[in-house]
């Protein structure tokens, strides 16, 4: 089957090469489309050529190009939330045409839908993809009043969460580490604050965020299950603008404005939680806080050269009685250069650095220590879009990353400490990716996108690699030899071919069928045996003892718009098959283990599901409802006696409603409802006594299920009318989380039975359900000037 796909793709590439040389006597219209109020480039704006009944869309940098025969054309630029602009042009030479789209004046008025309405749901080739509307997220009910895109992502079809209070999400049967999370193209290794209560994404700086669950374009690689791409705002290049919010748990402030009007701008945003201040006020000596800083500057020299520099810093700090503490955080930096080599060849060159690190520290004279670990990465990316014609576009590029994994160092932090300094060996890797893909409109009904990514991954020195008598024996570990590798010397290399294919066939003006296939390779492995990753988990590269993880996913979908495109309906079915999924032996010691390879167990995982989604993007009532039926299993050598078991994040049914309703210009209401089958959990069927410990007797992995999870949240946003004509605007968001105070299971653990007055009965055990949040009201005050 895969050879057939390879043949298809190769013949496609030949087809592509034959089309490059045609079309000499044409001219190009190109330019950037941006928001007329703040100058932000707009992604995915439809540029429609009325005469040809075809068009293109702006790329992720807001750029479009159309290569057409000379003549007179009417171009329509349209995007959700913006007024459409129609331009008459006479094409007799290359034209540079930048467009500023005005925001829809008010949502209340009936919007005149242009003849080519926003029907991308049906006409676009993309499937298995969801944009997360940040404006809507801000009006939805939020935990502690802190708007969070990850919480909305967890309600999308095909996405599951592990329960509340976590930022982990599971896409189509993939584990949480199989999501590539990018902020301004830089990878985030842990997206959680406060162990997942919030994500690292400050809603105030997000320009656009999109989740790719399938049909993943060839420009992405490195993770098996999804890509979450978050792009931050470039900064208002028209006028200085400030915005802030005061929430129950955290506050945020953003300042943006022009450095040179229309040419250059900046944005700086900060967010900090202040639970610690309450704790201090309550006399607690414990400290818990997190912060985020986003900063970005850009210089739009002209259409041919534009430069961007973005920075993200985030950190969580926990400190208990000034003796025990830990902290963790991400830091990323992105430098981008958008360049036009010619009027049809768009280039994005990026240099990206990413760092994730954590530290645990105990201040104690006799037992003090400091434990640090980090993962660092530098990436160079060259991505090119070649706009051959409105029906033919080629994307190709090369990515190179250098990664350094420092799994841990433990040092004593007092002279008398019982600890000695131990450092686990660092690991290094070079990751190359070369890709090409071609989007071709074969006729008015059929569009295809085909391509491939070549992944070449090298685990390199310096390193002393241990050889083992039996690498799967984690009890009597016997090293037979040590092989020394020099700096950049290859320890092991893996070459993988990742074909990608999507097709769309329009059945009639309101419906289409789409199919997609993608193979993904993951060479960065999370060392975690739990369901939800914690910041103290480390990562390891593919190497001698860890093979690349491979996923093949096929999806088919039916897309239909209803009632003049007011409603978008999609039905998708998928099957995903994962080889070499990284897991760990029972009782694995994954923390600070020099012989970690003896704990690796790679196996198989497979998942299938059916997803329904109904979305409404316009009118007073907007939002979506989704239902997913899915099943995910794993089979890992030595785990569960080698028998298949349900994955930790398997959820049979998953139903969600996310909606906002604009009553008038003063009040907007929001609501979430979620219902999912409880996740599988391993619990004992028996017990016994060893010495005087009451021990569980475990008979099966994930043989139990947590109770079903369901929750209802409400919010109301009050925008005072006196805002009008005032130089600053404000609003209040009132949220009620878990409106009917359902005790949703976070997890279940067992203990020796204890009465309310803490009397222990050693003859009995009991199961204890932990739930996090009862009904939780919160208020957030937002201001903008």
């Amino acid at each position: 089957m895969s050879t057939l796909k390879t043949a298809l793709i190769l013949s496609g590439l030949t087809l592509l090469l034959s089309t490059i040389s045609v079309g000499q006597s044409k001219y190009t219209i190109n330019g950037y489309v941006s928001d007329s109020e703040n100058g932000e480039e707009l992604i995915g704006v439809t540029v429609y050529v009325n005469e040809l009944k075809t068009g293109t869309a702006t790329n992720v940098y807001g750029f479009y190009a159309l290569n057409l025969q000379p003549g007179d054309y009417t171009l329509t630029f349209s995007s959700i939330g913006y007024q459409s602009i129609v331009k008459e042009i006479s094409l007799a030479q290359d034209i540079e045409l930048n467009i500023d789209l005005p925001v829809e004046i008010t949502q209340m008025e009936e919007i005149v839908i242009t003849e080519e309405a926003i029907d991308a749901n049906v006409t676009d080739i993309k499937m298995s993809r969801n944009e997360i509307n940040v404006k809507q997220v801000k009006r939805l009910p939020a935990l502690f009043g802190e708007p969070d895109i990850i919480k909305t992502i967890q309600m999308l079809p095909g996405v599951a969460s592990a329960g509340e209070g976590t930022s982990a999400f599971f896409v189509r049967g993939g584990s949480a580490d199989q999501n590539l999370i990018l902020i301004d193209e830089a990878p985030i290794y842990d997206p959680s604050h406060l162990f997942g209560l919030f994500s690292v994404f400050n809603a105030d700086v997000i320009k656009e965020s999109e989740l790719y669950k399938g049909g993943i374009p060839a420009r992405f690689g490195g993770r098996l299950s999804s890509i979450l791409e978050v792009r931050t705002k470039d900064g208002n290049n028209k006028e200085l603008e400030g915005a802030g919010g005061i929430g129950t748990l955290a506050s945020r402030f953003t300042l943006q404005g022009p450095i040179k009007k229309d040419k250059s701008s900046f944005i700086v945003s900060g967010r900090r939680s202040y639970v610690d201040l309450f704790l201090k006020a309550a006399g607690e000596e414990n400290t818990v806080f997190f912060y985020d800083v986003n900063a970005k500057v850009n210089w739009k020299h002209n259409n041919n050269n534009r430069f961007f520099a973005a920075l993200y810093l985030g950190r969580d700090v926990f400190d208990f009685d000034d003796t025990f503490g830990f902290d963790w955080g991400n830091a990323t930096a992105t430098f981008r250069w958008n360049h036009l080599f010619n009027d049809r060849l768009f280039s994005n060159t990026s240099l990206i650095a990413s760092n994730f690190d954590y530290k645990l520290e105990l201040d104690d004279e006799s037992q003090g220590f400091q434990w640090t670990s980090n993962i660092q990465q530098i990436t160079f990316k060259e991505d090119l879009n070649y706009f051959l014609s409105p029906t033919n576009e080629i994307n190709f590029g090369y990515h190179l990353s250098y990664q350094r994994f420092s799994p841990g160092t433990i040092e004593p932090n007092s002279d008398k400490s019982l600890f000695t300094t131990v450092e686990l060996q660092k690991e290094y890797a070079l990751d190359h990716g070369l890709y090409i893909e071609n989007q071709l409109k074969i006729n008015n009904k059929l569009s295809i996108l085909y391509g491939a990514r070549l992944s070449f991954f090298q685990s390199v020195g310096p390193s002393d690699v241990y050889l083992y008598e039996d690498v799967t024996n984690n009890i009597d570990i016997e090293r037979t030899d040590t092989v020394a590798f020099d700096r950049l010397e290859t320890i092991e290399s893996y070459f993988n071919f990742e074909p990608r294919f999507s097709a769309r066939y329009i059945l009639n003006p309101v419906s289409s069928v789409k199919i997609s296939y993608n193979r993904m390779v993951q060479n960065t492995h999370l060392i975690s045996a739990g369901t939800v990753p914690i910041p103290f988990n480390t990562w390891a590269p593919s190497s001698l003892y860890l093979e690349p993880q491979l996923a093949d996913q096929t999806a088919i979908g039916y897309f239909r718009n209803l009632d003049d495109n007011k409603y978008e309906l999609s039905v998708e079915a998928y099957y995903k098959d994962i080889n070499n999924v990284t897991d760990f032996a029972d009782n694995a010691d994954i923390f600070f283990n020099e012989d970690l390879p003896t704990e690796y167990r790679q196996g198989d995982s497979w998942s299938y599901g059916l997803e329904l989604m109904l979305q409404k993007n316009e009118g007073r009532l907007t939002g979506f409802t989704s239902y997913t039926w899915s099943k995910t299993e794993r089979q890992i050598p030595d785990v569960n006696l080698g028998q298949p078991f349900l994955a930790n994040y398997d959820r049979r049914h998953n139903f969600n409603i996310v909606a906002t309703y604009e009553l008038n210009d003063k009040w907007t209401f929001g609501g979430n409802f979620t219902y999912t089958t409880g996740r599988p959990i391993t619990l004992p069927n028996g017990k016994y006594e060893f010495e005087d410990y009451q021990v569980d007797f475990i008979t099966e992995r994930n043989g139990f299920k947590l109770p079903d999870y369901h929750r209802l949240d409400f919010s109301a946003t009050l925008t005072p009318r006196k805002n009008k004509g005032r130089s600053w605007q404000s609003n209040w968001v009132f949220s009620v989380y878990n409106a009917y105070s359902r005790k949703n299971a976070f997890t279940i653990y067992t203990r020796t039975q204890e009465s309310d007055d803490e009397v222990i009965d050693p003859n009995r055990k009991e199961a204890r359900l932990i739930y996090l949040f009862p009904i939780l009201p919160s208020i957030t005050y937002n201001i903008k000037f």
Binding site: K687, F690, Y693, Y749, I770, L772
Partner: protein, 277 residues
């Protein structure tokens, strides 16, 4: 220190709430549990043989009183064990060696337990242990200011030299007036020496003491198998249901044929101190 999950679970129970629920357990075949210890002390040693019970059974475990138990060393010296020779009611399931004997360093000891025709064996090596240098008593400032129990604010510290040229594993037990004490009922005090420096100076032991108490510290050598067993056991006792940590699983045992538990051979060093002004 490696039990981050415990810290997380504690954090969760701070922000979260909990309640007792009934889980839908199934009837499963019981397994034989063996617990035994041979030390380098000349005494009658014990082996305990029990059977697992249902999770909601109202007994902790089911003693097996009719097993055949022997311990043999790798020089083929065999010692027979008898069930509860003194007929102590609470000692059902406990088997004592018919003779006093002292385990020797470097010798492998194998227990053989026969229950209903099924034979279960387990082997452990008796490793040497270093001597405890000394114990010291200090007043714990926090406990002094706000004691859990009036007068109980003395803390016992121990001092030992960890041999840096050998690979060692340790298990500690702490006693107040001959009764075992733990800070938490599920605590197990054990360690490997991967991260240990030579000078272990003033490491606090469990619990707090009052004037006149006698504190005793026992330090046992354990094998790597023993270390893994206690490590797996504490992970199971403190597991979070596989949320942040790994899903719970039975500890790796040195017993054969599907039995659980551990048969341990240890050298023992101990020190005692009386709490005085």
């Amino acid at each position: 220190m490696k039990n981050i999950f415990l810290t997380l679970l504690v954090l969760l129970t701070i922000i979260g709430c909990e309640e007792t629920v009934t889980i839908d357990t199934q009837q499963v075949d019981p397994v034989v549990i063996v617990e035994g210890l041979v030390t380098d002390r000349n005494q009658r040693h014990y082996v305990r043989v029990t059977r697992s019970v249902g999770f909601y059974d109202t007994v902790a475990t089911e003693p097996i009183t009719d097993a055949t138990v022997t311990v043999r060393d790798n020089r083929n010296t065999v010692v027979n064990y008898s069930h509860n020779p003194n007929a102590v009611p609470l000692a059902n399931g406990y088997y004592l060696s018919d003779t006093e004997f002292a385990g020797e360093v470097g010798i492998d000891y194998t227990v053989t337990v026969t229950v209903d025709g099924q034979v279960y064996t387990g082997t452990d090596r008796l490793n040497p242990v270093t001597d405890i240098d000394s114990l010291a008593v200090i007043v714990n400032e926090d406990e002094f200011e706000d004691p859990d129990r009036d007068g109980f604010f003395y803390e016992v510290l121990f001092y030992v030299k960890e041999p840096q040229d050998t690979k060692d594993f340790y298990l500690f037990k702490f006693y107040r007036n001959n009764r075992i004490v733990r800070d938490d009922p599920t605590d197990i005090y054990f360690s490997d020496d991967d991260l240990l420096a030579e000078d272990i100076e003033g490491v606090p032991t469990a619990s707090f003491y009052t004037l006149g108490d006698t504190a005793r510290v026992e330090m046992y050598s354990i094998s790597r198998n023993g270390f893994l067993y206690y490590n797996d056991l504490i992970n199971l006792l403190l597991g979070d249901g596989g949320f942040f940590g790994a899903p719970p699983v039975n500890p790796r045992t040195n017993m054969s044929n599907g039995a659980l538990g551990f048969f341990q051979a240890s050298s023992l060093s101990e020190a005692e101190i009386v709490i005085q002004e």
